[in-house]
């Protein structure tokens, strides 16, 4: 028997067809087995994949094998040699190329009849009309910021009179042997922003420790990157991907560590600290991506109930999953919609409020701008207005008590409304 490209492989979908040609005991009663569901899956359903990294590579391959034939993938990154241990669609010869393009090309080469459209872009490059064309969005990102953006964007796109405007968002994330997958139905289920307080806050070291009382090798590295680099190279931005820069930091931190009798500074640690590298392994990515794609398949075909709405996976001690319904957070700035009361002390000034907005787990607004009904209180951009409003930073918060203050951040597509009490 000889086969080749162009010839019909009629039994190609034999495995997936098992669960499309008949329903099961856990299948929704509206499920119509057979022709129509296959047609929707294989000809009509359009899926957007955000991220072509460790998770994204797995996701695009799984979705293509599952039978989805119209896939789009977005990623702004290019391929680095350290990606090769788990991003299995890339080869040594791809280093430097666009991740989205390389992943799309590889999958189309391997699997016939699938069209993968690559976008070497930031998600923020596109607007509602772009996102509106998809039936589903699957997200495999390591950036909290990007997830908050897409979550809020999809939430704001929902139009109650147009059911098509509700785009299920399936989100996966991993760290070492741990991970999670979840299904977000914007406006219906809890959203990404609702669970922001579940994230472990990034490790930060107080500046006085870094400057005066270093104890750990990390403190010495932070000293080199945060304090020394800007002093020595005032007009040059530190590039975490430039080995010359890492080398410079390594030598500086080693000198400081020696001075203070601190052990443990090395190349790998320097890189880990400045790039905030998350350890990552192929197996966990595979598990989480598979779970996300399985939910996408169940949502698209209704062949079985989908996840409601959160699965947590922990793999270092045996295997443990916790599947539960994450609840909406009333004070969620995206889907809560209410003005939040924030308790402040009388001696606090506007600058303290900025700090609270940056630090508190449920806000995490990195560059907050503030305004009230009388106008701007403090603006981060443009520079002229920043300079003009800077004088307000030292004003007492007691001046604003009882008022509603709007918080915005250019990187986040939503407004946070606060009442100081």
């Amino acid at each position: 028997m000889s086969h080749g490209n162009g010839q019909a492989h009629t039994q190609t979908h034999a495995h997936v067809d098992k669960v499309l040609e008949k329903g099961g005991p856990f299948t929704d009663e509206y499920f119509q087995a057979g022709k129509d569901v296959k047609k929707f899956l294989r000809e009509q359903c359009k899926v957007l994949i955000i991220g072509a990294g460790g998770l994204g590579c797995e996701i695009v391959a799984n979705l293509a094998l599952t039978g989805f034939s119209d896939l789009h993938i977005i990623d702004m990154d290019t391929i680095d040699v350290s990606n090769l241990n788990r991003q299995f669609l890339f080869r040594s010869s791809d280093v430097g190329k666009s991740k989205a393009v390389a992943a799309a090309d590889f999958v189309m080469k391997r699997i016939p009849n699938v069209k993968v459209t690559a976008h070497h872009n930031k998600i923020q490059d596109f607007g509602d009309d772009f996102y509106m064309q998809f039936n589903l969005v699957v997200c495999g990102l390591d950036s909290v910021e990007a997830r908050r953006w897409i979550n809020a964007t999809l939430y704001n796109m929902v139009d109650d009179d147009n059911p098509e405007s509700l785009k299920p968002l399936i989100d996966g994330g991993t760290e070492g042997f741990k991970g999670q997958s979840r299904v977000i139905l914007p406006t219906i289920s809890s959203c990404y922003e609702c669970s922001l307080d579940m994230l472990t806050p990034p490790t930060t070291f107080p500046i006085c420790t870094i400057a005066n009382t270093p104890r750990l090798p990390e403190h010495c590295i932070e000293w080199a990157s945060v304090l020394e680099w800007p002093k020595v190279f005032p007009s040059k931005k530190l590039d975490n991907d430039d080995p010359d820069h890492i080398e410079w930091l390594l030598n500086k931190s080693l000198t400081r560590a020696t001075e203070f009798n601190i052990e443990g500074v090395n190349w790998s640690l320097v890189q880990g600290v400045v790039k905030n590298i998350i350890p990552s392994v192929a197996s966990t990515n595979a598990i989480i991506a598979a779970s996300c794609c399985n939910e996408a398949f169940k949502i698209a075909t209704t062949t079985a109930a989908y996840l409601n709405n959160y699965m947590m996976f922990i793999g270092n001690e045996g295997v443990f999953t916790y599947t539960f319904e994450h609840q909406k957070r009333e004070s969620c700035v995206v889907c809560g919609g209410e003005t939040m009361d924030l308790e402040v002390k009388d001696e606090m000034i506007v600058e303290d409020l900025l700090e609270i907005l940056k630090q508190k787990a449920e806000f995490q607004v990195r560059k907050p701008s503030l305004s009230n009904d009388q106008g701007n209180i403090y603006l981060q951009y443009p520079p002229q207005l920043e300079e003009y409003t800077r004088q307000n930073l030292s004003k007492s918060l007691s001046d604003y008590k009882g008022q509603t203050i709007l918080v915005t951040d250019a990187n986040l597509p939503f407004k946070l409304s606060l009442r100081l009490v």
Partner: protein, 544 residues
């Protein structure tokens, strides 16, 4: 000197930069948080055998090839079909009609030049008959959807040769992973944190350090930089004096303890060390006795039957027991978490703990030498690194005693099966376990998976499995099957032994993770049967 000159002068290339290999595996070696160099080297020296070049097998191998396993073999005498290219990413349209074994291996190898692989177009039954020794040349044997009698034969062989075996099954949205391990003794279990401050039983050097600090006689600045460990030990000392040597027992006493401690704060001084003392006070309420799971190890038969053939691990446990009988504590791990203080004090305190750990390792080693001497075992098999790692992780050691798949078949676990068919358990794992057993019984009889048939024959298969189910329920438990088991069985038959791409990827991810744990002998593998339900998106671990 302008900026460019400064730049070129400061950037001198040294030999500190990582080589290509380190950069490739950087994320998994990172700060020894995943499996570190020792684990990587174990992985690179490992050889695994996989029976069947299916989608699940490829998905498993993918996650072993990427991190750099040494060698893998795929044994499969089937030729690639259309259905295979539809669910297996490591096959392509051109593969149809060629051997599955060689085709999957060829495409898997594309991912990593440093890995070796071999596709064997052979029938495993035939190899079992002609050269059974072949199967014992591997670090692990991996099966996917193999027939029951082949699974039993191979698992018996693996069991008697002390080889780990992983048996995977898939059907639709259901999957299972049975791990059959010879005794697994794990030192580096990667606990979240190894913290042992000895607050309750400070050793001599630590006591001296604490006594050398007088809370009342230092300046405000120095007071705010006294390590919280010192604050806690002093407070605990005082408490014990007034409470007959007992620790704070209940919530009232614990609150009282914290309140008194807080009264030592200096007014108007920002004292982060006292904040830390409050939040870490719970550590002072713990005894530093031997942890329960370590005490259990001391009762293990392997220790009672110590002989010259015992593994190094058990000689180390024997030494540990002598050590802890002598001191009432385990060796100190030598670690100190970051805490608010000045550099000099921190480094001093760190040195005190490190020296204690070094002393303890030395003592453990001399005990060990005494013990192995009686058995004429050479100290050369115990590197200093091994003894050091053992001492450091002594509170977190883990032993897994395997159980054989053969035993599971010859003497079925009535309690598990009974839970599976009972109405009391709405949890699906037991029911899915029973459904897999029924499916095995069907396959033995009809030489195919239930549901792996034309659509019009489906109802017939359902009738057949239901009569199998009734037999099992009546024979074993004398009960009628519940709805949970009937539904799970029906769902399994609907899957028809299929290998859905997402189920394959999920199970492949899970299995490869467990294989890596066993090969590197790090982290804690499942013990010993994992059920995956991708309708409910849950996993459960049962012990057979």
């Amino acid at each position: 000197m302008d900026l460019e000159q400064i730049t070129s002068a400061e950037f001198k290339v040294t030999d500190q930069r990582p080589d290509h290999k380190t950069r490739r595996y950087d994320r998994q070696l990172r700060i020894s948080r995943l499996w570190a160099a020792a684990g990587q080297s174990a992985l690179e020296n490992a050889r695994v055998l996989v029976i069947n070049g299916s989608a699940t097998s490829s998905a498993t191998l993918k996650n072993l090839v990427l991190p750099g396993i040494g060698h893998f073999t795929v044994m499969d005498d089937q030729l690639v079909t259309d259905a295979d290219i539809g669910n297996n990413f490591f096959l392509e349209p051109e593969s149809v009609g060629k051997p599955r074994a060689t085709e999957t291996v060829r495409l898997l190898l594309e991912m990593n030049d440093s890995v070796q692989g071999e596709g064997l177009v052979k029938n495993p039954y035939h190899v079992l008959e002609t050269q059974p020794d072949f199967f014992t040349n591997f670090s692990a044997v991996i099966l996917h959807n193999t027939e029951t009698d082949l699974t039993l034969k191979l698992s018996d062989l693996a069991w008697s040769n002390h080889l780990p075996l992983f048996s995977m099954k898939t059907s639709g949205f259901y999957a299972s992973l049975r791990v059959q391990l010879p005794e697994q003794t794990i030192i580096d279990t990667h606990p979240d944190a190894i913290v042992d401050l000895r607050l309750n039983k400070p050793f001599e050097q630590l006591k001296k350090f604490v006594q050398s600090t007088d809370l009342n006689k230092v300046s405000d600045n120095d007071h705010a930089h006294i390590p919280y460990i010192v604050v806690l030990i002093k407070q605990l000392d005082e408490w014990k004096k007034s409470h007959d040597g007992a620790l704070p027992k209940n919530i009232t006493e614990k609150r009282e303890f914290k309140k008194v401690m807080d009264s030592h704060r200096r007014k108007g001084v920002d004292e982060q060390n006292f904040d830390e003392a409050q939040s870490q006070a719970y550590r002072a309420f713990q005894s530093n006795d031997i942890p329960h799971q370590v005490a259990e190890l001391y009762q293990d038969d392997s220790l009672k039957n110590l002989s010259k053939d015992s593994s190094p691990f058990w000689f180390l446990v024997a030494s540990l027991k002598v050590f802890s009988d002598r001191h009432g504590v385990l060796p100190h791990p030598g670690t100190l978490p970051d805490l608010h203080t000045d550099t000099q004090t921190y480094v001093h305190l760190q040195t005190i703990y490190k020296n204690k750990a070094r002393e303890d390792v030395e003592e453990l080693k001399s005990i060990l030498i005494g013990i192995i001497d009686k058995f004429s075992v050479s100290i050369n098999i115990f590197s200093d690194d091994l003894i050091g790692a053992f001492a450091k992780h002594s509170a977190f050691l883990k032993v897994i005693k395997g159980s054989s798949i053969g035993d599971e078949y010859t003497s079925p676990r009535r309690d598990v099966i009974s839970s599976g068919i009972s109405d009391e358990f709405t949890e699906s794992a037991y029911a899915i376990y029973v459904a897999f057993i029924i499916s095995d019984a069907f396959s033995e009889k009809y030489k195919r998976q239930p549901g792996d048939c034309k659509l019009e024959d489906f109802e017939n298969d359902v009738m057949r499995v239901n009569s199998e189910l009734e037999k099992v329920t009546k024979d074993l438990c004398g009960k009628e099957p519940s709805k949970v088991i009937s539904d799970s069985l029906l769902e399994l038959v609907r899957g028809g032994g299929s290998d859905l791409p997402n189920t394959a990827a999920f199970l492949g991810g899970l299995a490869s993770q467990e294989i890596i744990k066993v090969i590197t002998n790090q982290y804690i593998p499942i013990d010993n049967y994992c059920i995956i339900d991708l309708i409910k998106s849950t996993t459960s671990v049962l012990k057979m």
